[in-house]
C-alpha cells in the first residue's frame, strides 16, 4: 500500500529525514513514535505529498510520488489525513466540513455527500452536531469530526499526525476509541502518536525514529519486549514511566 524507500529530506543544510525506509501493507496499522524533532511528522507528511523530499522513492497505492507532474491532488484525495490541531474549516458548519471536498473534489451530488457525511458522523457519535460550527465543539469532538471528514473521501489509507496531543486528557479516549474502531475495521493506518496504549492495543508494527532516522521497525510484541536499541528503551522508559 505504502512503500517508502531511502527517503531523505533537507531544510537547507539541515537534514530532517535520513534514508528512511518502511513498507506498510494493506490493512496494517503502524504507529510511529519518537522524541519531538525526530522527523515523524515530516515523514508522515511526505506520504501524501504535503512535504517534498529530495532523495528516495515513495509509492502510495501504486502511485509514485517521484514522478514529475503527478496529480498530487488526486493522490491526496485518496489518502485521509488527521492533524494535531484538527484544522476543521471554521467558517463552515460540521456537515459542510464533511461535504465540501466530496462535492468539489469527487464531484458527488449534495444529497449523496450529505447522506455519507451523516453516516460518518453517526459513526463517530456526532450526528446531532451536524449544524454546529467547529468553534462550538470541544477539542475531542472537533477531532472526531476531522476523522469523519477525512473518511468522507473514502480513503484507501489514513494518516494521523499526533491526533491526540492537542487534547485535554479526558478527551483523548473518545478520539482513540474512534481510531481503534477504524483499525479493527481493517483501515490502513499510519499513526504518529505517543499513546503507547493505543499502539499496544491495535498496532501491527511500531516504528521508532530519532534524529530523522528510523531506528526500529518491529512488530509490537517485539517492540514492547526488551530487545530494542538503547535509545529506544530510553525513550520508552521515559514516556511509560507514569
Amino acid at each position: 500500500m505504502i512503500s517508502i524507500k531511502g527517503v531523505s529530506k533537507w531544510y537547507g543544510d539541515f537534514q530532517v529525514l535520513r534514508n528512511c525506509s518502511a513498507e506498510i501493507g494493506k490493512g496494517e496499522v503502524v504507529v510511529i513514535c519518537g522524541p519531538s524533532g525526530s522527523g515523524k511528522s515530516t515523514l508522515i507528511k511526505t506520504i501524501n505529498g504535503l512535504e517534498a523530499f529530495q532523495e528516495g522513492e515513495l509509492v502510495v497505492d501504486g502511485t509514485s510520488l517521484n514522478k514529475r507532474g503527478i496529480d498530487l491532488a488526486k493522490l491526496r484525495s485518496r489518502v485521509g489525513m488527521v492533524f494535531q490541531h484538527f484544522e476543521l474549516f471554521p467558517h463552515l458548519n460540521v456537515l459542510r466540513n464533511l461535504t465540501i471536498s466530496q462535492c468539489r473534489v469527487l464531484g458527488r451530488g449534495r444529497k449523496e455527500a450529505e447522506e455519507n457525511a451523516l453516516k460518518l458522523l453517526g459513526m463517530v457519535g456526532l450526528e446531532a452536531y451536524c449544524r454546529k460550527f467547529p468553534a462550538q465543539l470541544s477539542g475531542g469532538q472537533q477531532q472526531r469530526v476531522a476523522i469523519a471528514r477525512a473518511l468522507s473521501m473514502d480513503p484507501v489509507a489514513m494518516l494521523f499526525d499526533e491526533p491526540t496531543s492537542a487534547l485535554d486528557p479526558e478527551m483523548i479516549k473518545e478520539v482513540l476509541d474512534v481510531m481503534v474502531d477504524l483499525a479493527k475495521n481493517g483501515m490502513t493506518m499510519v499513526v504518529v502518536t505517543h499513546e503507547m496504549g493505543f499502539a499496544k492495543q491495535v498496532a501491527d508494527r511500531v516504528i521508532f525514529m530519532d534524529h530523522g532516522s528510523i531506528l526500529e521497525d518491529k512488530p509490537k510484541e517485539e517492540f514492547f519486549g526488551s530487545s530494542g536499541s538503547e535509545r529506544c528503551q530510553q525513550f520508552l522508559s521515559k514516556i511509560l514511566a507514569h
Binding site: K45, N48, L50, L72, A73, K74, R76, S77, R78, V79, G80, M81, F83, H85, E87, L88, F89, P90, H91, I100, S101, R104, V105, L106, R149, A150, M153
Partner: protein
C-alpha cells in the same frame, strides 16, 4: 464680520444629489473592481512563481508610489484613445470611464496589500487541510482561505472604502462633476463658495464618520 448665506443650497440640492450619485458610483465601482483585482494581485504575490510574485509586487509598488492625482490624469490622457478604439462609442463620457479605471487600478494596489495580510493571517494548517482533502491550490484558496480571510478583513476593507470615498473628490482635475465638483461650481456661480464647501465638508464628514464607526463596530464584533 462675515455673514453666511445658505440660501443657494436648497435650490442646488438636486444637482448636489446628482454629484453624490456620481461620487458613490465611482466609489462602488472602484471598491468592487479594486477588491477583485486586489485579490488576484495578492494571490499572485503569494504564489511560488517568482515571476508572478514579482509582477504583482511591481504593480503594487508602482501604484503606491505615485500620487493619485497623477494616476487619474494619466488614465484620462491614455484611456480615451484605447477605449474609443476598442468600444467605438464616441458618446461615451471618457472622463467617467477614466475615473473608473484610474480609481480601480489605484485601489487594487491598496486592497492587494490588505488582502495579502488577510491571507497570511490564516493558519498554515488550513492550507494543508484543504490540500490533504485533495483540493487544488486554487480550490483551497477560494473555498477555505479567502472566505476566512475576507471575514477578518471586512473592517479594513471598509476603512479603505472610506478613504476612497473622500479621494474621489480629486476627479475635479479631469472636470468631472462629482459631489465636491458640483458644490464647488454652485458656490462659484452664486458667490457662496465658503457655504457650499462647508456644507459639502459636513456631508463628507457625516458619511465617513458613520462608515468608520460601522467599521469599528464590525471589528469589535468579529474579534469576539
Amino acid at each position: 464680520m462675515f455673514e453666511f448665506d445658505w440660501s443657494s443650497i436648497p435650490g442646488a440640492l438636486p444637482y448636489l444629489a446628482e454629484g453624490m450619485v456620481r461620487t458613490l458610483q465611482i466609489t462602488f465601482i472602484a471598491v468592487l473592481i479594486g477588491i477583485a483585482l486586489g485579490t488576484v494581485l495578492a494571490t499572485l504575490r503569494l504564489s511560488k512563481s517568482r515571476f508572478l510574485s514579482g509582477v504583482a509586487a511591481a504593480y503594487v509598488t508602482i501604484f503606491r508610489s505615485i500620487p493619485l492625482v497623477m494616476v487619474l490624469l494619466w488614465f484620462y490622457l491614455l484611456v480615451p484613445q484605447l477605449i474609443s478604439r476598442i468600444f467605438n462609442r464616441p458618446n461615451l463620457d471618457i472622463r467617467v470611464l477614466a475615473s473608473f479605471v484610474a480609481f480601480s487600478a489605484f485601489e487594487a494596489s491598496y486592497y492587494a496589500e490588505i488582502i495579502r495580510a488577510g491571507i497570511q493571517s490564516i493558519p498554515k494548517g488550513q492550507f494543508a487541510a484543504g490540500n490533504a482533502l485533495g483540493m487544488s491550490g486554487f480550490q483551497t484558496m477560494r473555498l477555505v482561505i479567502l472566505p476566512q480571510a475576507f471575514r477578518r478583513m471586512i473592517p479594513l476593507l471598509l476603512t479603505q472604502a472610506v478613504i476612497l470615498f473622500q479621494d474621489t473628490s480629486l476627479v475635479y482635475v479631469i472636470g468631472l462633476q462629482d459631489f465636491f465638483g458640483v458644490a464647488y461650481n454652485v458656490g462659484n456661480r452664486d458667490g457662496t463658495l465658503v457655504e457650499l464647501l462647508l456644507f459639502a465638508g459636513a456631508v463628507y464628514f457625516v458619511v465617513c464618520f458613520a462608515a468608520s464607526n460601522l467599521a469599528r463596530y464590525l471589528q469589535k464584533r468579529l474579534a469576539s
